[in-house]
Every structure is written in C-alpha cells, then in structure tokens.
Point group: C2
Chain length 588, copies 2
C-alpha cells in the first residue's frame, strides 16, 4: 500500500473520529486531527472528564457512521462564514485567522453529515477504503504544544485498508510496548526523573550509569585509535561566539536564555563547533598537520517544549559524541569515507544492520534559497559531489533529500528505525565550507601560502542518551554481557551455602565482573525469577551439591542458568570467568 493512500485513509478516519465525538458528546470543541506516522490523532476539548472507557463507545459510533461516508466533498468559504460556523470554538478561530493572515483559501471538507475546516487529503470513498481502524490511546496535549495554553485530550488511533494489516500492526505495537525504553528504564532501574530536579533532565541510576560509562569509553577509545584528538571544552560560552559563528539567528529558539556574568552574556552551548575552532586557532598550522580531528563527548543544551520531552529520547541536555575534522579540500573524500567506516564499525558492535536498522540519506541544499543556505553555488556543487561520490564508491544504499542540508553545506544523515518502525535522523556527517571563512581558519600550504581548510562536522553514534534509549528498546533490556549493568548474580539456595556463595561472589568481583549476591531469605525460585526479570545474563545457582563438589574437586563450581531460561550446566568459576571475559571482548 502506498504511503500516500495510507495517509488519506488515516486522515479520513481522524475526521470520522471527530464526527463520532461530536455526535456522542455535543458541545465538544474540535481542534486539529492530522495523519501521523503509523496512524492519526485528534485533539479535543471535551465538556466532561474523558477517560479510557469512552474509547469503545467512540469506536462503536465510528463503525455506525462509516457506511454513510461514501465520498468527500469540499467547498471554499469566506473568512466570515468560517468564523460564524466556529463562533464558539477559539481554536478553530485561531486557525482561521492564521489562514487569513497568510492570504490562503479557507476550505471545508464534508463526508456524510460531518463538515470540518481542513486542507484536504482524504480517501475518495471512506466507507470502501477504510478497511479497519482502532483507537489506541489517550494523552493530554497542550494546544499547539505550549504549556501556556489549555490542556486538550488527544486520542490516538490507526487505520488500514484491511483487517489483516491492522492485526499485524497491533501485534507489532504490543511488542514495541514491551520494549518501550521508558517502561524498561523503570523496570530495570536504569534512570529516573525527579520533579524537583526538573523536566527533561534524566538522572541515571548506578545501573544506567554503567551502560553509559561503557558506551562512552568504547567510543572514545575507538576514536583515539583512529587518530581523533579528544578534548574537553567548557559547556558555556560568550554569546558573541555564536554570533561570530552565525549560529545565533538559526539556533536562537532552541538555545536557552543568556546568563549575565559581570558585564557579559553567556550561553549554555547548543553545539561544540566554535569551541573546537578556537582550539585550532590557538596555534599556527601547516599542510602537514592536517587533517586534525577534534573530538569531544560534549554536553549540549537545546530547548525542547515540555510536551515534546520523551524519556531519554528527547531531553533538555544531552551528551553528543561530537567531532570536527579540519582538513584540506583534497582530503575531504577520504575523511568522509573514514567517518562512514567508523560509524559502520560502531553500529556493527551494537549488532545494527545497515539497510534494515539504519541507512544513509544525502541531504542537499537549494541553490535558489539564499536565506536558508549560504550562497556559494560552486562550493555547494563540490561538496555535494564529494558526499555523493563517497556513497556511490562504497555502494551504499542511500536516498537523496532536497532542501534538508545545513545552512553551511550538504550532509549525510544516518537514518535509524526504532522498534516502532519510526525512522529518525539519529545523527549526521556534514560538509562545511562556511565556518572556515567565518572563523578565518587557515593553514600554510606547500607553497608557503595561507589556504583555507574545510570542516567535517560529524557524530559517530549520536547523543549518548538517545543511543541508550535506542539500545534499551533494541535489546528489550537484555543487554549483551559487555553492556549489562549486572553481568552475573550468585544465588545460594539457602543460608547453608551462604559462606560458599560469598566466596564465589568475591572471586568473580575480583576478576572485574559486575556481580551481585542475592542473600535474601527467599526460595531460590523467587531469586531466579527476579534475576531473570532483571535480565542478568549469568545466574550462578549454588546448592549443597555445588558446595560439596567444590569441596571434593578443589575448584569452585556453580550451576549456571541463562536469562533465557536455558540450563548452562555445572561450570567451574575460572571457566565462568573466562566465558564472561570472552563475551566482553567479543562485545557479546
């Protein structure tokens, strides 16, 4: 089924939901109801306390109305007509005024008895094309996403052309729910939020912090091996720095307000580029010094509306595995190639498949749009050709997107799919020919003359917080051993084996294995269940048999059980250590 048709079906079903809501609950104020990825929503202001229990009633009413929707018709209306129609609805009135301001036409779309302010994009015959639909969930949503406005009731739903497609989608949703990183983060004790600390500011628990520390060290060590120069630069800077870089007008709305220190204004930094340029500028360079690959695990701060904040996925401060490669033009192609090598290496360590889990998108500028893109046609052509050539030579599957570049040059977006099948730009590789001019970056070339380098802005994995959200969902919380917060748990069957269990626990700990001892006074079945729910890879069960065997054989042993429930047999402690260490080494 074509995406376009699916969108029409879903948009039509949103109208159907609005019609049902109005019929069942007269006085309900309609606002907007777009098709979104995987479904649609509609935001209502109800006159009663709407609850989950209302959803089946609404669904039933929608089923009743649907057969009467044989077509969609539309008409153009004047502003006055539209305002008269919606005279009791402040939301629609606001929308109408905006349409008028833009000088656009006002259109009403109608199917059956229901008519709504709309721009169109519906099924021709909803009763035939909407094969199956379902209302999925409820949420509070501020009008236009702003906390200052009224809180509305948002109803999410989805629709398909066949019941079979809907059923398959619902199975997928059920699976995704189990993998939801916000739920797993709580169940596995990986991170928490605190109202006192504030919105969009996760606190990583000791367990969540293990995952983050390992991720960070893995990335830094790998980049160091590849000749990146890892640095530490401050996460606040003078506002003038962002005026100089030209970022300020573009990023103003996503930056936090300035802080006055003595007579100057300082900003929480939204990006690292100018800091790295200042480091480059602190000494002279020759052509032999290039490329210089400045890298940093950079704390960045970008404003997100409170309604948009989502677990570790969308936060108000995050840590980007960032880098800026300052290179000669003739090195550009090799640099981009190296970056893609690194990205693919790191992705493979997380068992991500290129093509299925992620793919590349080449985002191009628009020569005609001087406001959005820096004017330099030749530089754009060169840069776009370099990026395209790299992708083609690597035989990488990629799509091209126009009008998606940065203001300073084209980029390769790394597009990742999460467990909901939703595709997002996880991070980017950008070719920049503007910043070197703005910051007057230069080097002395082979002829002894000052020349201008180019800059590649890139991440190797994206923001650590987002990576964590992604990986929690990908692994459904069952991290591979090298990333597991707890790699092994020692479970004595009773207090009689406690001394021996402690000995095993200490032996594993001394080998650097992240191990816990469960000495609670509970049946071992309960302990096994708890450790399995916590998704610990290695469960070391210790009863009289194991204690006895150790006493006789000289080597300590445990009965191994894996988190998938399978039996690992009796194993000596040194063999277990070796097994865990091998997993870690192989990133399993």
């Amino acid at each position: 089924m074509k995406t376009e048709n699916l969108e029409k079906i879903r948009h039509s079903t949103a109208h159907l939901l609005a019609a049902a809501a109005l019929e069942l609950y007269p006085g309900t104020k309609l606002t907007i109801g777009p098709a979104i990825e995987n479904g649609f929503y509609y935001d209502f202001e109800f006159q009663h306390a709407f609850s989950e229990e209302d959803l089946p009633r609404l669904e039933k009413k929608m089923q009743e109305i649907l057969p009467t929707w044989q077509s969609f018709s539309h008409r153009e209306v004047t502003a006055n007509e539209a305002k008269e129609f919606y005279k009791d609805n402040v939301y629609k009135l606001e929308l109408i005024n905006e349409i008028v301001e833009k000088g656009e036409k006002i259109t009403f779309y109608k199917s059956g008895e229901f008519e709504d302010l709309c721009r169109g994009g519906h099924s021709e015959n909803p009763s035939k094309e909407i094969g199956a639909f379902k209302l999925l969930s409820l949420a509070g949503a501020y009008w236009r996403g702003s906390e200052k406005n009224t809180m509305l009731t948002r109803i999410y739903g989805t629709a398909f052309s066949t019941q079979k497609e809907l059923d398959e989608h619902l199975v997928l949703l059920e699976e995704a729910k189990k993998r939801d990183h916000k739920k797993l983060g709580k169940d596995l004790g990986l991170f928490v939020f605190s109202d006192a600390v504030g919105k969009g500011l996760p606190l990583l628990t000791p367990k969540g912090s293990v995952v983050r520390r390992i991720l960070e060290r893995f990335i830094v060590d790998e980049e160091l091996k590849r000749d990146y120069l890892h640095v530490y630069t401050p996460d606040i800077a003078n506002l003038d720095l962002y005026k100089k870089s030209g970022h300020y007008p573009y990023y103003k709305d996503s930056m936090y307000a300035p802080i006055k220190i003595e007579d100057e204004e300082y900003m929480l930094r939204p990006m690292t580029c100018p800091h790295h340029f200042e480091l480059y500028l602190s000494e002279p360079h020759s052509y032999k010094d290039l490329p210089m690959r400045y890298a940093e695990l950079a704390h960045l701060y970008r404003f997100e509306q409170s309604g948009e904040l989502t677990g570790l996925q969308r936060v108000r401060t995050f840590t980007l595995a960032d880098a800026h490669i300052i290179a000669r033009v003739d090195q550009a192609e090799q640099m981009v190639n190296e970056v893609l090598d690194l990205i693919e290496y790191i992705a493979s360590a997380f068992q991500l498949d290129k093509g299925t889990d992620y793919h590349y998108r080449l985002s191009l500028g628009n020569r005609a749009d001087d406001k959005k893109y820096f004017k330099d046609d030749l530089a754009w052509d060169n840069a776009e050709n370099v990026l395209r050539a790299v992708l083609e030579k690597r035989k990488a599957h990629f799509v091209e997107a126009t009008d998606e570049a940065a203001f300073y040059g084209p980029k390769i977006d790394v597009q990742m799919k999460n467990v909901n099948g939703k595709e997002d730009t996880a991070f980017t590789v950008q070719y920049d020919f503007v910043m070197p001019k703005r910051f007057d970056l230069s080097y002395i070339n082979e002829e002894g003359v000052a020349a201008q380098p180019i800059v590649i802005h890139r991440s190797s994995i994206g923001a650590i917080e987002r990576v964590m959200a992604f990986l929690i969902e990908k692994y459904a919380g069952a991290f591979p051993t090298w990333l597991s917060p707890v790699q092994a748990v020692v479970l004595p069957i009773s207090d009689k084996q406690l001394d021996y269990a402690e000995k095993v626990y200490k032996a594993l700990k001394e080998e650097g294995i992240r191990v816990e001892l469960d000495d609670k006074k509970e049946p071992v079945g309960a302990k096994i269940r708890r450790a399995t729910l916590q998704k610990v890879p290695f469960l070391c069960i210790i009863g009289d048999k194991e204690k006895q065997q150790a006493a006789e054989g000289g080597l300590d042993v445990v009965s191994l059980r894996l988190r998938d429930g399978s039996d690992g047999g009796v194993i000596t402690v040194p063999d277990l250590v070796k097994r865990v260490q091998t997993d870690i080494e192989k990133k399993l």
Copy 2:
C-alpha cells in the same frame, strides 16, 4: 621566626613602600596595603604610567627612609579629622565611612614622617626588625576586586628579618616561577584560553585532555573498586531544589543567575548533593542497603570575579570528583575512615606525602552562632566526636579550626601546599546531619521502623582542573609516564632511517603507547632539544647503527635517551614496550 612577627615586618614594609611612593610621586593616591602569605602588597592610584622600571627607584627610596623609622606611634582621630586628612582620596574616604558605619575607632599609624589610616600590627622598631626586603612585581587590580571600579596599580613585595631568609625565598620564587602551571600549560600545550569563549573557561588541548582523561578514569575505577555507585545527573536543576536543600541563601552569591525555561527557573548547579538525594529517594531502602556511596564526576558552576580567575586553579566551571555517602549513624566512623583511606591512596599515587604536601584540618562549628550553623548541639557534638576519633585512631597529624564548618555539620579539610608554599583547602570530608532532615531521607531499620541516615559529603581528590594545576606545578611539567600526554618520541637522525623509524613508531602505537614521530628535516640535536623541552619521558633515537643492528639481529632496536639527559643505551622495541608498560602499571 614566628608568623606573627613576620606579618608585622611585612605590614610595616608596606607602609614604607607607601611612604616612598608618596615622596617620589607626589599626588599618588594610597588605598590599602596588607601583609599576605609570603609578603605584602600595596594598591596605588599613580598620576603617571607606572612601569617595572619604577620599582628599583622605589626600593632605593625605601632604603633611604628605613633608618629613620625607629618606632611606630598611633593616635585616634575623629571622622571629620580623618576625612579632612584624606579629602582628595576617594578610596580612603570610602574606608573611613565604613569604619564609621560599623561604629569602630579610626586610628592613624605613623613612623618617621609618614602617617597612614591603619588598624595597627607593625614592628616596634622597623629600622631594626626589617632585615631585608624586595619589591617583586606589578599587577593591575580593581579597587575592591570589582570590575566596575577603577583599575589600580598593585605592587607586590616581601620582607624578612635577615638577608639570608630573603635570598632563600627568592631562590624558591624563581623555582616556583618555572613551575607555574599557567606558563607550563602554555609551553607544553596543555590548555588555552580564548577571549571569544570567555573568561575562566579553559579549553584543554588534546595533550591536556590526555592527562585529564587518565586522571578521571583512575579516580572512577578506584572508586568503583571501593563500592562507590558512580552516576550521571544533569548539571542544571530547578531553582526550587536549592531552596529545598537550603543551599540557596548560602550560595546565592556564588551561583549564576537563573535561566527561565517555560514557566520555571533553572540554575547551573553549584553542587551535586540534592541530585544524589533525589536518586536515593527514587526507591525505598532498608538498613541492609546502607551505606550507599553515590559518586559522580560532576560539572559544577560557581561565580568567581574576573579578577580572581587564575589558570586552571580558579575557574568558572569545574569538574568535582564528588560523592555522597548515605549511611547509618553507626556506620559513620567506618565511612569517614574509608574515605581517608581512599584519599591517602590516591595522594600516594601522585607521590604526595602526608604531612609535607598535605595535612588534615578538623573544622568545627560554633554552638553560639545559630545563623551560620544549624542549631542542634547534640548532633554537632556527636559529629565532631566521630571525626576527631577517626583522626586520632589513625594517628593522623591534624589541627583544629573553630568556626570553619559547613552550615550542616563539621568537616575534615584536606589542606594542600602548592609550590609557592601556599596552603589551601583542596577539598573536604563533611559530616551532615541536616540534609537528611530537609530531604526526608530515610531507611527501614532492623525493627521495621523508618530511621534517618546521615550523609558524608566528600571528594577523593578535589576538582579535576585544580588537580591538574597542582600536578603540573608539582612535576614541573615532567609528568610520570602513566600521565604523560606523549610517552615516547621516535627521532630519526636523517631521512635515510625514516622507513625504519616509521616501523618503530607503528609498533609502539599498536601497543597502546602514546608516541610521536618527529620527521622534521632538522639536525637530531634540535629534535632532542624539542622533545626534552616537551618533557617526553622516552626519546628513541634512530641512526644507521640502530637500523643496521635491527637488520642483523632480527629484533628492532633504538638508542634510548631520557628527558633528564641520561643515556638509556640500546634497547629492543619489545623491551622498551615492557619498560613503558611497567611504568604505567606502577604509576611511575
């Protein structure tokens, strides 16, 4: 010589400097001139452009006047008399008004012909007691340290009772100058400042970042071994959090202004305590869970006046190796003991001697001062006894300081001496019985009843930036191998050995050694000098002899030279690798 007498000598010499300045440059405005650690200063407003060349003239004039200063006399004057005397001096007038406001007496002190507004504290007979003095340096200094005021000329000097003491001190100063971390930081390329980024915000270069990364990982790994729970928490938080903690009124002046995000106010955090408490509060705890040692490499932000900023020593944002141990009261003594064990272990890794490089100070509260210290006499007694008992049982040399505690309890200060002999509180171990109440921290005790824990606030090493400043000066830039940004450099004598030099370079790099290849077209002497100035521990010289020997013997060899100039003889590459790795392992 008693400190008190030395202070009197120096304070008297400051008067002598003022007298000479006034005589040589009539119209000069006097401000203040206190004795400080290791000397004195006087701040002047000169009517001419004062320069270094004026110092010898001043010194000569001081020598001329000194014999006439046989005593100090003083008299009390009225406010009007004082104001009349200083009618052309806005600085002294400001001081006089403040004395009046406080209801204190106004006194003038006189020796020879010179009289100055002063509180006293001079030598009885300056001409006899001031054995030797010297003017050392010039600096700009804002009146009262504030950027908004006039910039004055500060003249630093020192004085002793004998010439011999002065000479010894000057030798020490010369040595300290060579070790100054700001100078070495520049010479060795460890960090830079950028006007564009802002004041007090150092940017660590790739080399400085190596040192920091190793320090950080060393501390984190050591703390993890000792059962600390390392976490990551956000470096901004809602202002209300600091109101709840009670920090706000005490720390307001050292916090940056709030940032408005939607309808809330957020602060750059000045400390980590409340974040860790919120983590503790995110789940219930039993007596078995305690102690819980939350630790973090925490980005903190505290306001410093621009005039006070000094290299990496005093900055506007820093990273503290912070921790909060939440423990039962009966565990307090053991916890403090463990913390001191850790501090001493880490100090020993940096070859710091307890007693000479650092010592402990027990800082006590003042039961009478309810404003400065939380009122709870019993809790203060208990806490002070715990800290004193730990120090006594360890037979640690320590001094007691009254009225130096935190508002929530007493503390052990770790006092460190820098290369100038200046003693500072590097970091602290604090016993806190107030925060647990404020945050309602609790655990279920053995009887099943909710009980209140105590909190130990502590660092294990202090702020990473300050540690770096301290270590740069301690090692005079010659970091031990495990901390060296570059551990080895390969120096081919000519291009004829370049291929072989590259082979050696690659072999060392593959073993994880931080190595550089100096392939500049220069005499090897110049290369050796550069590497020695850069304080690289291992210089690997490669000539025809070494290349030949390698070709014959099968094993690659280099001629080793150490940064102290000593000859390390011919060594095989595998032996060199082993030697470097052993140094790293032993933290040499």
